[in-house]
């Protein structure tokens, strides 16, 4: 079983990422070593995902443990790319930390007990739907971290993080909307309706709506000390959509609970 090797791959990747971020902080002159180390960690982690894919004979996107795997990968990737684009070292560091949390969860509670793919999941929409969603989660995760720092910095009248936060939220919302719409098109093909207010859909709607409130409140130039709290709130909704829906009393009988 490929999963048994996860501990080796993840520990090695984690080590490369930590060394890479440390190198970014220590070596002020050149970021080359740090960038190479982080990229190597990403490549190694992705290798594991593809080996697992080959082993399962279907993309590892179905169980909770499998989607957490992608999240661990993408959150680090997002942190790394934002570092390359906007030079925020701390975001690279934080995203490695968050990734580490999800790796730990996967090591302690893998939740990977399915191998047979049920007919409803055998669809061309399945992979893009879930991947795009996870990408949006990674963006919003980074935006949430940044929002906490921005809230603290408001005391010093600094708004330096606002362009970053807005960018991450716009991109995250772009992915979220795409993921939702791909899901809707898929639902029409699989169940005959593109939207039925199924519990998972209700929570996906809530999540998107709270991010929409942030974006529209920003265009209205509302005070930051209020607006910035919308992002952590939205992220809580996102976590409920992703991890919590199955446990809610209102969700018993949802088509999304497998």
């Amino acid at each position: 079983m490929m999963w048994d090797n996860f501990i080796w791959f993840s520990t090695a990747s984690m080590l490369l990422w930590i060394l890479g971020v440390a190198s970014l902080y220590m070596n002020k002159k050149s970021a080359l070593t740090g960038n190479i180390l982080i990229s190597a960690g990403l490549a190694l982690f992705l290798t594991f995902i593809f080996l697992l894919w080959g082993d399962l004979k279907h993309p590892p996107l179905r169980t909770m443990g499998e989607t957490r795997l992608w999240y661990s990968f993408f959150i680090t990737l997002v942190g790394f790319v934002t570092w390359l684009r906007w030079r925020y070292k701390w975001l690279a560091g934080y995203s490695v930390l968050v990734s580490g949390v999800f790796i730990m969860v996967n090591l302690l509670k893998p939740e990977i007990h399915f191998t047979n793919l049920m007919p409803a999941l055998q669809s061309v929409w399945f992979v893009p739907h879930v991947t795009v969603y996870i990408l949006s989660y990674a963006m919003f995760g980074a935006a949430t971290i940044a929002s906490f720092i921005a809230i603290r910095e408001l005391k010093h009248k600094s708004e330096r993080l606002m362009p970053l936060i807005d960018n991450l939220t716009y991109i995250g919302l772009g992915f979220l909307m795409t993921g939702m719409l791909l899901g809707a098109i898929w639902a029409k093909e699989a169940w005959g309706d593109y939207w039925t207010w199924d519990p998972k859909e209700v929570w996906a709607f809530i999540t998107a709506a709270v991010y929409l409130i942030y974006i529209h409140a920003r265009t209205q130039k509302y005070p930051l000390r209020i607006i910035l709290w919308i992002l952590p709130l939205a992220f809580v909704m996102l976590m409920i959509t992703w991890l919590g829906v199955n446990y809610l009393p209102a969700a018993q009988g949802s088509i999304h609970v497998y």
Binding site: P119, D166, L181, L182, D193, I206, R218
Partner: protein, 376 residues
């Protein structure tokens, strides 16, 4: 400062109006009962779709107020609160309640007004992202909301070799009613592919599979082998003929005593009893039911207007005929692959094309958010 006070006043007025709408919704809900979707059935929905923009164009002054961005924030917030109620309270019917319907309507008006306002000063590079997102959403909301009143869903059960025109309504007010549809299905064949059934060693009394914390299930295919708690299992032959339950001839060697046990194991089906292989007084080898991998119906479909179509319907692959989509729903699960009938769901949604157009515009609009970022 005066400007700021004025803005706050405007927001306060908008909040009061939205609150009044919500309260009116609650009152209607209490006194008139739940919202009946049929109220919006064609042509009411079409009149609504046309009259909202037309009225907003005629009443330009009102339209300017209704296009307010702060009003959008309030309305989306209230919609979110209603959705939270939907998501938290078990068994609620908020989606067909008056408050929800009225807020939905207010959102439609607000959105139409802001699109019309933006259209007056439209410049491609500056406004295309806004237009794709908001016009796309508007079209989608019109189709999914008022448009859904024209939607109909039916279940149709068809036996192999038979033709069926009658179906049972699967939702709405007429749920359970049987009527004759303008489409018919002739089922030539129902087929199913299955994953191989699995073998495990279980405790006979409790059914718990070994090893207790991390049970091993292995596929009952020819020559498959597994070691479970010092027992080596091999599958020497497999039998699975149409109409019969799957069976596997299993040989088990106890590695500590070298005792060999062998025999047939089967999960059974609707007329054959299951069969296990006892290893001792506590444990036995048992087989799970095969899980469906794919099921499909070979059909010929007809419409009253004379169209005929041949094809295969399976999960995720519906067939379309004259505005109807035909879905593989289920089969006789007691018989599994030997089912002699297939249950189809037939869906009629005349607003599906605009809904798709709205969704595609929204997807392109979402992509524009990537390069646009937070700069407006």
């Amino acid at each position: 400062m005066a400007g700021k006070g004025k803005r706050e006043q405007k927001i306060a007025i908008e909040a009061v109006i939205v609150a009044a709408i919500a309260v009116a919704g609650v009152a209607l809900q209490i006194f008139a009962g739940g919202f009946k979707r049929e109220l919006l059935a064609f042509p009411v929905n079409l009149i609504l779709v046309i009259s909202i923009p037309v009225l907003l164009i005629i009443f330009k002054g009102a339209s300017r107020h209704l296009a307010s961005g702060s009003l959008s924030v309030i309305l989306i917030s209230v919609a979110t609160v209603i959705a939270l109620y939907m998501g938290l309270v078990p068994g609620n019917s908020a989606k067909s309640s008056w408050p929800f319907v009225l807020i939905y309507l207010a959102l439609l008006i607000n959105l139409t007004a802001s699109v019309l306002t933006r259209l007056r000063t439209f410049r491609f590079r500056k406004d295309i992202s806004f237009m794709l997102n908001h016009v796309g959403l508007l079209i989608l909301l019109f189709s999914a909301g008022p448009g859904s009143a024209d939607k109909a869903r039916y279940f149709m059960r068809v036996f192999e070799g038979k033709v069926e025109w009658r179906a049972e309504m699967s939702g709405g007010s007429g749920k359970g009613e049987t009527i004759e549809l303008p489409v018919a299905i002739s089922l030539e064949d129902f087929e199913m592919d299955e994953y191989p059934p699995k073998l495990a060693i279980i405790e006979r009394m409790t059914g718990i599979a070994l090893p207790e914390k991390k049970p091993i299930y292995f596929e009952a295919t020819l020559n498959a082998a597994a070691t479970i708690k010092s027992n080596s299992l091999t599958v020497d032959s497999v039998l699975y003929k149409p109409g019969f339950a799957p069976a596997a001839y299993v040989k088990v060697v106890d590695n500590t005593t070298n005792k060999i046990t062998e025999g047939w194991v089967s999960c059974g089906n609707y007329f054959q009893h299951f069969k296990t292989l006892n290893l001792d007084s506590i444990y036995c080898v048992a087989m799970t039911f095969p899980e469906p991998k794919e099921f499909r119906s070979k059909v010929e479909i007809y419409s009253k207007s004379g169209k005929v179509k041949n094809g295969v319907v399976k999960v995720n692959h519906p067939l379309t005929i004259g505005g109807w989509k035909i879905y593989q729903h289920s089969y006789d699960s007691a018989r599994g692959r030997d089912s002699v009938w297939s249950l189809f769901e037939l869906v009629y949604d005349p607003w599906i094309i605009p809904a798709y157009i709205g969704m595609i515009m929204l997807i392109i609009g979402a992509i524009t958010l990537f390069w646009k970022g937070g700069r407006s």
